[in-house]
Symmetry: C2
Subunit: 546 residues, 2 copies
């Protein structure tokens, strides 16, 4: 049998394990667990060592008891797929499988794997037999079949349901299973619990599975670890025993002294809280989409308006949506709720009027941004086809390298659709995975909605800003990365070699810089920046021959 290969992002080749490798691997872990047991450590299996799981595993592995001694031994479990197997050997070298701007991620993983020896990674499900606690951090995707229609989508449940099945077949009856994945409300009680209970009964276990839900509030960026460990948590169990266990466990591994736990009565409350949380965020952002457009059409600078409103503490959550709303959670979590209402909870009416609308608005905002690029170029008589357009920022958020569902992606796709030659610069992104691996986009394959997408596959993320600017026709400020905030118009235009079209999608330019670009002969447009027309008129009036 030919060995399959999994490549790590830095190009290291790993052969996937063969059937014969499993027994040996399980023996390896059993030895580690025997030593851990002898040290009085609790055994925790984390299923899925992706964005959340890898960091959560390390945080648990870093936990100490009252005497300052390591209290947990953690086994990161990952299916050995071509796409993900490399994470296991990588982790076992003490290297984080997740690239993060927070240096604490690397330090924490190195410390736990190499120094404290409280963290290992494996591919065999058999380790579930050893677990006192199983944490589920597998991904749960929401598949959209259209752009801007979240209702016409569905939840890809199979991987999660498989996990419940495998766990129930393997675990000790008194192991706590903690679902940390963001799930459709009702999943813990109406899918996981009955499924696992049936398997328990079939195994002759009379007790009910100990099952709990708790959601993290991870935020990519420089405080990645703290956003998981030093932040408020919500949890709940399917029964009193489960609740007691999850509360005890989270108190042992998280900083709940400074950030107290919120314990809810039922998992559906905790599941719903997570969906409400992200849908609230998505809604406040979508709300600003229409006012941003209102501003564009009526000479208003929405950035100044937002800053004026945010002064009120009761309105401090209001933020500017930029060129679209990305990240893994906000584009999908409301969809999980709407889907669950029908498919898990069995309702036929259309209860949700705002939650899905907000996602649809957010999902299409980047197309509006692309129109702004088109309009600015038209104002300069620049055809889109063949034009050199530089997008500054590929990620979904300032000063992180997470490109999932970023507004920049949809914008790049539309502009490529129209024939433009796209360049992209991002100091935090090495490879723009969604474009390079056109066929495994985690949610919907955006490429299918557009033409001319092949070129994007070869898109390199540029690292030298001056080089990137050379010879461009159009510059798009898409993300508020630090490196872009201080760019001066003179320097940009000099590097570009002449006047260009400048599109500000995220309130990057202040009025002085807008004026600077205009005076250098550039065309400037900005999402929500209707006041640019007034600045143009001021210049026009100044230049007028009296």
């Amino acid at each position: 049998m030919k060995k399959e290969v999994s490549y790590s992002p830095d190009g290291i080749k790993y052969f996937l394990p063969l059937e014969g490798d499993y027994a040996q691997e399980f023996t390896r872990v059993c030895d580690l667990v025997a030593r851990a047991n002898a040290n009085g450590q609790e055994i925790v299996v984390v299923m899925g060592v992706g964005f959340v799981g890898a960091v959560m595993a390390a945080i648990v592995a870093d936990a100490v008891n009252e005497d300052g001694m390591p209290s947990k031994f953690v086994i990161g479990m990952q299916r050995p797929s071509v796409r993900s197997y490399w994470k296991i050997p990588t982790l076992n070298k003490g290297i984080s499988p997740v690239k993060a701007e927070d240096p604490e991620v690397d330090r924490l993983i190195r410390r736990c794997v190499l120094d404290k020896k409280t963290l290992t990674a494996t591919f065999t499900y058999d380790v579930l037999k050893l677990a006192d606690v199983v944490i589920i951090d597998v991904q749960l995707d929401y598949i959209k079949n259209e752009i801007g229609n979240v209702r016409n989508g569905n939840v890809e449940m199979s991987a999660l349901e498989d996990s419940f099945d495998i766990i129930a077949h393997h675990i000790k009856p008194d192991a706590l299973v903690l679902i940390e994945t963001t799930v459709a409300p009702g999943t813990t009680e109406q899918i996981a619990f009955p499924l696992m209970k049936k398997i328990f009964r079939a195994r002759g276990i009379e007790s009910d599975p100990l099952l709990a839900h708790s959601y993290e509030r991870v935020m990519p960026g420089r405080d990645y670890v703290a956003s998981v460990r030093d932040f408020w948590r919500v949890c709940s169990g399917v029964n009193q025993a489960s609740t007691g266990r999850v509360v005890k466990f989270l108190n042992e591994v998280l900083n709940t002294k400074e950030f107290p736990l919120t314990v809810l009565d039922r998992p559906i409350e905790s599941e719903t809280a997570k969906i409400v949380e992200n849908s609230y965020r998505a809604t406040t952002l979508a709300f600003m989409d229409e006012w941003s457009k209102f501003a564009e059409r009526n000479g208003i600078d929405i950035v100044k308006v937002i800053n004026a409103v945010r002064v009120r503490p009761t309105h401090s959550n209001l933020i500017f949506p930029g060129p679209g709303i990305g990240g893994y959670c906000l584009p999908k979590d409301g969809g999980l709720g709407v889907w669950a209402y029908r498919h898990v909870l069995g309702f036929e009416d259309d209860l949700f009027r705002i939650t899905p609308l907000a996602i649809d608005i957010n999902d299409t905002r980047a197309l509006h941004a692309a129109q702004f690029v088109r309009d600015a170029m038209r104002n300069m008589n620049l055809p889109i086809a063949g034009a050199e357009i530089l997008i500054l920022g590929a990620s979904y958020r300032e000063d992180v390298g997470d490109t999932r569902f970023s507004g920049s992606e949809l914008m790049a796709r539309r502009l490529a659709d129209m024939g433009a030659d796209i360049r992209v610069h991002d100091p935090y992104v090495d490879q723009w995975w969604e474009l390079v691996t056109q066929d495994n986009y985690p949610s919907h394959s955006l490429k299918d909605f557009f033409r001319n997408q092949k070129k994007l596959k070869d898109l390199k993320v540029l690292k030298d800003l001056t080089e990137a600017l050379k010879g461009i026709d159009t510059l798009v400020f898409a993300v508020r990365h630090k490196a872009y905030l201080d760019l001066e118009p003179e320097d940009v235009v000099r590097a570009a070699g002449g006047p260009i079209a400048v599109i500000d999608c995220f309130g990057v330019l202040d009025d002085r810089k807008i004026k600077g670009y205009l005076q250098l002969g550039c065309e400037v447009k900005g999402l929500g920046r209707g006041h640019i027309q007034r600045i143009k008129n001021e210049i026009r009036n100044t230049n007028r021959v009296l």
Copy 2:
């Protein structure tokens, strides 16, 4: 000619002035102004001494210069209508025309009228001739023609346009006109400015009117005065001179040291900021309507979920909508924006998808609350017709007496519609004006949408809670007034004389009290409180004969 009469809320009768009274009144004010001028005081006319104008007038009148001497003399101006004339003699006695929970309102007005003598009220427009500054605080209503369809409504502009006209005809060319009313975006620059400029030209004045917009953020309640004076302000002028003047003026009268001014570039930005601000609030509330219903149908306590989510500082603005969203501003301000987009700014497309939807959802939420009352009563086999239903709280917000557009009103109207006998208790409300004066409801005449509304006209607001509870069939917690938070089930059921239906519209009851009511034989339902069914089942399981 028969003298017309205006009655104050406490029943004092005032004759409206006749034509011959105007000259004498103007002379009276001229004398006061001459003395104020001699003292170096600036003359400020406040048009409209209602909810905002009365307090704003007093705050300005209370301002002092660097030497601690009064720096402004304020004239409150009010049209002498049957409905409003009483405010003028009342103010001139040093009595506030606005009933407020904040004792500072009465003190401030008494001090300025009687002690400092820096505040007077009048009915003659001639005083505009004396003004250095004119502040417009007239009401601007949005008329809705249907329940739950804000798009099918319009702005009642005539009073405001009349004010602009009268002001422009009377004022000195260098008087600053400050629009404080919440207006449709574009009003200052596209309605007031050109209208006033034309009148200025007709008067032979070559300079442009000095026109500015600044919005207050008044909040009824115990901090009424502080919410106007000690709070952040946003302002802007139609040109540099106006901006300079409004900034100088607001710095002189408000606590801008602790709460700095936000100065925007154009009045349309300031006007829009106000609309965005209140539409944001309306949207976050409307967003929770669907999740509140989701909770009701799926065993979730939305109150606990909201508290879990609000722990995050980025989500602290999330609040529970209660039985509907009232107050003067939130039900209409988004309407001003949607209306302006078409009628002032001339767009034909449907830009707004969330802002009007949010208002429609909020405007109909109280009807859902009424359904809950019906359902709880049906579960007890209580017919609605002829039932004694006590609503606790008539105001739109806890611990204030402001009943404008309260959820309680719509709920009371629907329940009366269905034949119920409504009682209401509210410690802060003396008369429920919207019900008593069925024909001058400030926005839309809700009465027209229902039958059986006549009885409500005689509805007395009860003040003795125990008395109010006597013999009721149903109790509705509609507002979180302090007096209701500590009510114990035993006391309520004893006062009622037996088990009743209890409907909690605002998360007033905790789980212990819910259980208490249920154990006493009551039926309990609550908006967003789906977990009540679980509490019922706990009791059922406890009582079960094994």
